[in-house]
Symmetry: C2
DNA sequence: TTGAAAGCGATACCAA
DNA sequence: TTGGTATCGCTTTCAA
């Protein structure tokens, strides 16, 4: 592969001049420019990114650390991130942790090695103390994560309030046996699951309802409609069935509802269902859910990240995005 | 940020020795190793990726050029790719073309600049002549693409046969007014849409059915259930309604079915529906569909790409993955 | 407007 | 075992 020296030699100029042409600098004579361009064409030259990156100290790449791409929430988020990155001329590296805290740290390491100019960290799985050291080695923004101790910008939705609203709605409708789906990791520093769990406890306690552990379903894969189907089957076997379900995602809600209806269970009469996110499927199936601006969250976080990368001040560094309960026919 | 020289100085050794420690080479005395490790710890040292990449001529990154991540097919594919990349210790760059042929070329350029060690190109949008030049500058594998002229490995599903099977199934069931969803770009070199369109023409022609342009729906966004809902509304307004729909995706099929049922339309009695992919939602809603091993396609393509990257021979470079019609209750 | 040359930060060959 | 040093390919300052 030809390099800048080959071009310089062929064009009869110095590498400095070639570089100038490459970067559109002024002060390059028409004659030199043409000669260089001709040489580049003839030798089919393309500059080597690694060399440029090394010299510039920038890579033009950001990393998005997410749990898994195979989930509507994440792909929606990536869509938002992609939008902004495209405008900025940046590439995106997807890093899937598969909910393994260790992997998260491994990917954060990309910031230290300067393989990326910045990182978006979705739903942080590690304690801030573990993440903090990485933050000092480059731009980092938390998305769908809230961490009081963190000193970096963050964009999130208040999951406590979101869940609370949904659960209060169910309680007001008279439900006292409310099932809930939560992921296994209810770490205190987990922005999504922990607050929802807190809201569940609070709302029930305030309503004088005792928590029934049989109604708590952990490890339900939120991105997949089949998980909802399975959940229905489990609940169906129960003697004391709940009268309402806070599904935690629209996919689970949809799967549950479809399977329930197939078995002649009426929604919401026999069991009310609330989803989360307000994905297209919730609108389609007319599912009551908690809307959250996923894509916008991705966009906003990226914008903050790029300000950091560009060395600009970030005006509001802790951003709570709005959510709202969308009441439809499943409650 | 500390660099290898700082470490060398602090540890009282040469950069060569530091490099040896860094790369786990033999022939480093215990004493040197400890000194270097201690220095690295004290200075909080991390090697700079760009420098390593430049020197080694490798980046440890592959690019996946896809239409958009916000689509179950793509995220499934990415999941498969991610699996293999993880095993190989590689990072993945997602490149979304948004179905713009020009963007595809822009991303292929990453291979020339050596910003990535290889590229997976999904559903190639450009004519092979345009793509070929890039192929000569590094490892390239086509996924979900078939191109006779191409000289690089490719993994795909025979969309002609898949669509044909589905359509024949409908014809056998007695349908003669069959609607079909196709994306706008039916370029001759498009692996997905063009063959399906061909199959549609062939099957109908063989059955002596004249093609009715009103039954051809272009520009239906295949990844989104709401598109299916809208499609239903459009078809509902028609005076001569089709009796069957080849939806092109499970999402569109699902949206269509749900909306149809809401309006009291019986499936399959009033209108039969066939999806494509066999996503979880197809199983859940018991939709007849054409199964294709999306994730495996991603895995297989990645494996070929890594063989190329490692300079190993690729035994079978044109791989047709199996598909099969899954008959369920919507036909 | 141009070029020489000093890096950017690591790797690895060749001697010692 | 170790170190000196050339090298990867490009950018940019300093002089001319």
């Amino acid at each position: 592969m030809a390099n800048i020296k080959d071009i310089a030699k062929k064009a009869g100029v110095s590498t400095a001049t070639v570089s100038r042409v490459l970067n559109g600098h002024p002060y390059v004579s028409e004659r030199s420019r043409l000669a260089v361009e001709e040489a580049m064409r003839q030798l089919n030259y393309t500059p080597n990114s690694s060399a440029v990156h090394l010299k510039r100290g920038k890579t033009g790449v950001i990393a998005a650390i997410i749990k898994r791409i195979d989930h509507p929430f994440m792909s929606g988020l990536m869509q938002g991130i992609g939008e902004v990155a495209l405008r900025k001329g940046y590439q995106i590296m997807v890093c899937q942790t598969r909910v393994q805290a260790q992997e998260e740290l491994r990917f954060l390491h990309l910031l230290q090695t300067k393989q990326v100019d910045g990182i978006l960290l979705e739903d942080m799985q590690n304690d801030w103390e573990k993440v903090a050291p990485y933050a000092s080695s480059g731009p980092l923004v938390l998305v769908n994560s809230y961490e009081k101790k963190a000193t970096v910008p963050m964009v999130y939705v208040n999951n406590y309030n979101g869940a609370r609203q949904a659960l209060l709605h169910l309680v007001k409708k008279g439900h006292r046996s409310i099932a809930v789906c939560l992921a296994k990791q209810k770490n205190a520093f987990c922005t999504v699951q922990w607050p929802r769990w807190q809201a569940y406890q609070d709302v029930l306690s305030e309503a004088g309802i005792e928590i029934d552990s049989r109604y708590i379903f952990e490890n339900v894969s939120t991105g997949n409609v089949l998980a909802g189907k399975e959940l229905f089957r489990t609940i169906r076997e129960m003697s004391d069935k709940p009268t309402a379900l806070f599904a935690g995602s629209d996919q689970v809600a949809a799967g549950f509802i479809l399977e329930a209806r197939r078995h002649g269970i009426r929604i919401p009469e026999d069991i009310a269902v609330v989803g989360f996110d307000d994905q297209p499927i919730a609108e389609l199936m007319d599912i009551t859910t908690v809307y959250q601006p996923i894509r916008e969250m991705g966009e906003h976080a990226s914008e903050m990240l790029f300000r950091l990368i560009e060395g600009l001040p970030v005006d509001q560094s802790v951003v709570e995005m709005p959510h709202r309960l969308v009441v439809r026919s499943t409650t």
